[in-house]
């Protein structure tokens, strides 16, 4: 199957958006996963629920909320514009933001499981050997949760590639800027005679998602075989 320049553009844009989304949200997801796995604080249930909200709320609603918050008149959007000159509205960065928000719950879930699977007794052993809490985190906890971080990142990547509802309601469907794979498929569906285009793009998106899921499963299995951690 020879891809046209237009199709390559769509694929590369999708990859750019997803890589940016996952790259930026991974540290945040890990911090949240750590907080939810280990933290004891009032309102933990609320934080847990808020993190999972994008998983259950209609994506259109998530996109609309982003529009309110990050739009030109929105509180965060205005702040970004006046202080950094950054605008995410109708830009690919906005698509990445929408993808990141939608991927967050899945990533937090995978990472949280791997953090909960860390044997706290190993951390105790490290402390008695002279490790400060921070040194213990860097040398023991973080390496032991790496398979979970990797699995979460790949899962988040797969989710980002497929992101549609929040993206189209937040940054619209602009060719070359925010028209990622699912949006391009939707656009092709609206055009008479676009069936071939739809079929080709659909096949590509299935292959991409499949590759990501297989990669995720392989990371998890490898972690298990090395007895490093148990994820999912």
């Amino acid at each position: 199957m020879n891809l046209t320049a237009e199709e390559w553009g769509i694929i590369l844009l999708s990859l750019k958006v997803s890589v940016a989304a996952v790259g930026c949200v991974t540290p945040i997801a890990f911090a949240l996963a750590w907080l939810l796995a280990r933290g004891r604080f009032p309102g933990k249930l609320l934080v847990d629920a808020l993190v999972h909200l994008p998983l259950v709320v209609p994506p259109v609603v998530t996109g609309w909320l982003l529009l309110i918050g990050f739009g030109r008149m929105g509180p965060i959007g205005r702040f970004l514009e006046s202080w950094f000159g950054i605008t995410v509205m109708f830009r690919w960065t906005g698509a990445a933001l929408a993808a990141a928000v939608m991927a967050l719950p899945l990533m937090v879930r995978a990472m949280r499981l791997s953090i909960e699977a860390i044997d706290a007794r190993l951390e105790q052993a490290a402390r008695t050997l002279g490790a400060t809490p921070w040194h213990c985190f860097v040398t023991i906890s973080l390496p032991l949760s790496l398979p979970g971080i990797a699995a979460g990142a790949v899962l988040g990547f797969a989710r980002s590639i497929g992101e549609f509802g929040a993206t189209i309601s937040f940054v619209s469907n602009i060719p070359g800027e925010t028209r990622t794979l699912p949006l391009a498929i939707y656009a092709a569906l609206q055009v008479p005679g676009g069936e071939t285009m739809v079929a080709r793009l659909a096949l590509i998106s299935v292959l991409l998602s499949l590759a990501a899921l297989i990669a995720c499963e392989m990371i998890v299995r490898r972690g298990r075989s090395q007895r490093i951690s148990h994820v999912l």
């Binding site: 044997d119 105790q124 052993a125 402390r127 008695t128 050997l129 390496p143």
Partner: protein, 219 residues
């Protein structure tokens, strides 16, 4: 070595209390399972905070509820040998052994890696991963890891319980040599009388008796 402990801790509806003072090289906390022997070791190690009391090891105050002194585990300079070896699964034996060594200031170390490996007979294991070791090998590596951090006192929590008879003998010999050749004081926890007879330890009973003995103390 001077060792002085007077602690009290309430865990759920259990009350764990012990008061003891000793200069012996091998002190054994003896009592049936579930009376809080491990909790007492954890309090000495700094992993569990006593409700009140004080702990002094080798003239160093580690914990004192009155003057609000509570050193973190990493500041106490104690070695802890757990029931299970607790080797770090993502590090080879060599990196496990050097973990505490690298964190210890050079003047606090008293044995280099080669010497510890020869002493414990684990030189041939250095490049192995922990999950490929037998129970006895893993426990010897764990002992080596603790020794390399230059401990002032070794805490041992039933170090033989997960081993078969042949391996027990192997580790018992190691413990005797640590006591006699290296002269590191040991605080030993067990519920097995035969281990104590063998090690000729100073026995501190822990349990219902110990708690009633402590009734004299006013915390």
């Amino acid at each position: 070595m001077s060792f002085e402990i007077k602690v009290e801790k309430r865990l759920g509806d259990r009350r764990i209390a012990l008061a003891h003072r000793s200069d012996s090289g091998l002190i054994a906390l003896f009592g049936s399972s579930g009376v809080g022997k491990t909790s007492i070791l954890n309090m000495v190690a700094g992993l569990l905070r006593p409700d009140n009391g004080h702990i002094i090891v080798a003239d160093r105050l580690l914990f004192d509820s009155e003057s609000r002194i509570d050193l973190a585990p990493e500041q106490r300079g104690l070695g802890y040998i757990f029931q299970d070896a607790r080797l770090f699964p993502h590090k080879r034996v060599r990196a496990n052994l050097l973990y505490g060594f690298d964190l210890t200031s050079p003047d606090a170390r008293w044995m280099p890696l080669g010497e510890v490996c020869a002493f414990l007979g684990i030189t041939h294991l250095l490049d192995r991963w922990p999950h490929t070791l037998s129970g006895g090998e893993a426990q010897r590596v764990a002992i080596g890891r603790a020794l390399l951090a230059g401990p002032r006192l070794l805490l041992m929590d039933e170090p033989l319980s997960s081993l078969d008879a042949a391996r027990r003998e192997e580790i018992l010999i190691v413990i005797e040599r640590i006591r006699d050749e290296l002269r590191v004081p040991i605080l030993y926890v067990t519920h097995d009388r035969s281990e104590l007879d063998r090690l000729a330890a100073e026995i501190v009973p822990v349990g219902a008796d110990a708690i009633s003995q402590c009734a004299d103390f006013h915390f």
